[in-house]
């Protein structure tokens, strides 16, 4: 064992800058997630196919439905696209805690917990980068498919808006999921929560129908549902001229503009992050 020079090189042994340390650990953790994905691409393939199936099936299901309940007289397929994009990103982020839970159950997480990480939020940031990348790939696939189905394509600013909205949503939901992965006793419980939360949040949002079409109580739910705040700006990006200043959600408690949606979504996401942070750090800081 060559330990003879260990003391003399101690100055070059460790990365000194705290920011570089942080970047180094996030980079390494993210790389691990992508290596897993590259070597097990089936999850990516399924992740891209599934929303396409949703889009085609749901679009076909409502193709002949009267369209006068949709705002601006757009076709159902065009209306649905934004809902599918957001729902796909949401599901992906909601599942982000599962790999972490398995790491916990298999003891791999302990390797990270005994390491001198600058912050355990690095685990969260790497998951957000990973999920966001996959969501962008999925969204591109959905947008491409929507285009081929004749549902249109957002302009450049609209496209940026889609990415930004998704990123905000993913940050909040990934935080929530990782928090649950730390707090719940095991993967069975985590899957149960994901199962219970996932579809109801879809149905209680404006992904499939506008608020005006819902009974009053469901309208209330939809207008406090963060998915709605993500769906509506993206939908607006799909409807010609993009104006975030205009009212996008006619909530029972008042009208919400595009900016209002993004603001509420941001507040909810950052709020979630701060709520789960103590869970990440629960095992000593």
């Amino acid at each position: 064992m060559t330990t003879t020079n260990s003391k003399s090189i101690s100055s070059t042994k460790n990365q000194d800058s705290k920011i570089l340390q942080f970047i180094q650990e996030v980079q390494a953790l993210t790389l691990r997630l992508f290596l897993q994905l590259l070597r097990r691409p089936s999850t990516l393939v399924a992740g891209i196919l599934q929303p396409l199936i949703w889009l085609v099936l749901f679009g076909a299901l409502f193709e002949n439905a009267p369209t006068d309940f949709l705002p601006g007289g757009i076709g159902y397929g065009r209306f649905l696209g934004a809902g599918i994009i957001v729902f796909t990103a949401f599901s992906g982020a909601l599942n982000a805690g599962l790999p972490l839970m398995f790491d916990r159950e298999f003891g791999f997480l302990n390797r990270l917990l005994v390491a001198p990480l600058q912050t355990r939020s690095s685990i969260l940031f790497s998951a957000v980068i990973y999920i966001a990348t996959i969501s962008v790939l999925q969204s591109l696939a959905i947008m491409g498919a929507a285009f081929l189905l004749g549902y249109g394509w957002p302009n450049f600013l609209g496209f940026i808006l889609v990415l930004l909205t998704l990123l905000i949503l993913i940050f909040g939901v990934t935080s929530l999921s990782l928090g649950l992965a730390f707090a719940l006793p095991g993967h069975i419980e985590l899957i149960a929560v994901i199962f219970v939360v996932n579809l109801p949040l879809l149905f209680a949002s404006t992904a499939l129908v506008p608020i005006s079409f819902m009974p009053a109580w469901l309208g209330w739910l939809a207008s406090i549902n963060p998915l709605t705040f993500a769906i509506e700006p993206i939908r607006a990006a799909y409807c010609g001229s993009l104006d975030l200043g205009s009212v996008l959600v006619h909530a029972p408690y008042g009208d919400i503009t595009g900016y209002g949606c993004l603001f509420l979504l941001t507040v909810l996401s950052i709020g979630l992050f701060f709520i789960i942070r103590p869970l990440l750090n629960r095992k000593l800081i």
Partner: protein, 337 residues
């Protein structure tokens, strides 16, 4: 100053008390062995030291620093090799080492140099670039050791490093630990294998039900019992009552001390004698009572005797007893919290 000091540690998992006022000092440069049956609190002790668990009460210091208050600094200086072999099967061994190096913020050049050294040291070059899911238990263990050593910690902590390993892997790990010991590394090793502790450690402590019941060097502990250990059998397998009857007969004999019944070895009597005079007395006493001697052997005491005399049962009996009481699933759940 000792490198590690554990003082009055207490830890409970629900109603189960894992540690009861455990106190221990680990001197710099020693290979310190923690011996105890499964469930005696070894892993809990190590997990607390490595900042994975918080004790309910008590103090832990590492190089004079409070571990609970300076956990990040302490983590940087400890290499922890856990009992459960946790690897990401889809990564190669080299990728796992690189990930580890980055978690410890090693400079890339230094990190890759260390990985090279360790691959050579632990003889891993043939398979290090294969996915770790295909590794055998011994290979995984070696990789685990490499991760523990990668950042050249001041203290290497090994929780049962050779459990379930084949003989070849075991002897490889032993010889590595001996090399490290020669280099003056401080190593804390837990094991329920007597011979492992005996062979490797220069200081040791015996843990039983969350307490330290004896400590010193293996030699000291054995010598404390005296030179002449005697194992007496009046039959190949005596009953409990027969064993107790013989015990009563000889317990007050002059020069006989530390007398216990070894229930796991056919209720034989284990004790120490001052000199051969005592044995003569014993023979004539048994003769008078009409009891034949099946075998009477003298030997140097082993660590098992140390354990037997400290706790009243052999390590193996203690293992079996604990194994029957233990709820491993529940413990795993608790440990995850």
């Amino acid at each position: 100053m000792p490198l590690v000091e554990l003082r009055d540690l207490e830890k409970s998992y629900g109603a189960v008390k894992a540690l009861r006022k455990l106190t221990l000092e680990i001197p710099q440069g020693s290979l310190f062995g923690l011996l105890g049956p499964n469930g005696s609190g070894k892993s809990t002790t190590l997990r607390i030291l490595c900042t994975l668990l918080e004790p309910d009460s008590g103090e832990v210091t590492f190089a004079g620093q409070n571990v609970l208050l300076n956990s990040r600094e302490v983590r940087r200086n400890i290499g922890y090799v856990a009992q459960e072999i946790a690897i990401d099967k889809i990564l190669t061994g080299r990728e796992l080492l690189q990930l580890h190096g980055d978690m410890y913020h090693l400079q890339r050049k230094y990190r890759d140099g260390r990985i090279k050294e360790l691959i050579a040291l632990l003889d891993m070059s043939e398979w290090i670039d294969r996915r770790s899911g295909s590794y055998s238990g011994g290979m995984r263990r070696r990789l685990d050791l490499a991760t523990g050593l990668l950042h050249e910690p001041e203290l290497l902590v090994l929780d049962e490093p050779t459990v379930g390993l084949d003989i070849e892997s075991r002897s490889k790990i032993w010889s590595l630990l001996k090399t490290l010991r020669k280099e003056g590394k401080t190593i804390l090793l837990s094991s329920h294998y007597l011979e492992e502790i005996d062979e490797l450690s220069d200081k040791m402590a015996i843990i039983d039900s969350g307490r330290v019941i004896a400590q010193g060097s293996p030699e000291e502990l054995k010598n404390k019992l005296g030179d002449n250990k005697v194992t007496l059998k009046v039959r190949e397998f005596s009953t409990k009552s027969e064993g107790e009857k013989v015990k009563d007969l000889i317990k007050d004999l002059n020069g006989v001390h530390d007398l216990v019944i070894n229930y796991s070895q056919g209720c034989s009597l284990n004790f120490f004698v001052d000199d051969s005079e005592s044995l003569k007395l014993l023979r004539s006493k048994l003769d008078v009572e009409g009891i034949d001697i099946f075998s009477l052997s003298e030997s140097r005491p082993s660590l098992d005797d140390v354990y037997l005399h400290a706790t009243g049962q052999t390590l193996m009996d203690a293992e079996l007893e604990v194994a029957s009481k233990r709820d491993l699933k529940k413990e795993a759940k608790e440990a995850m919290k």
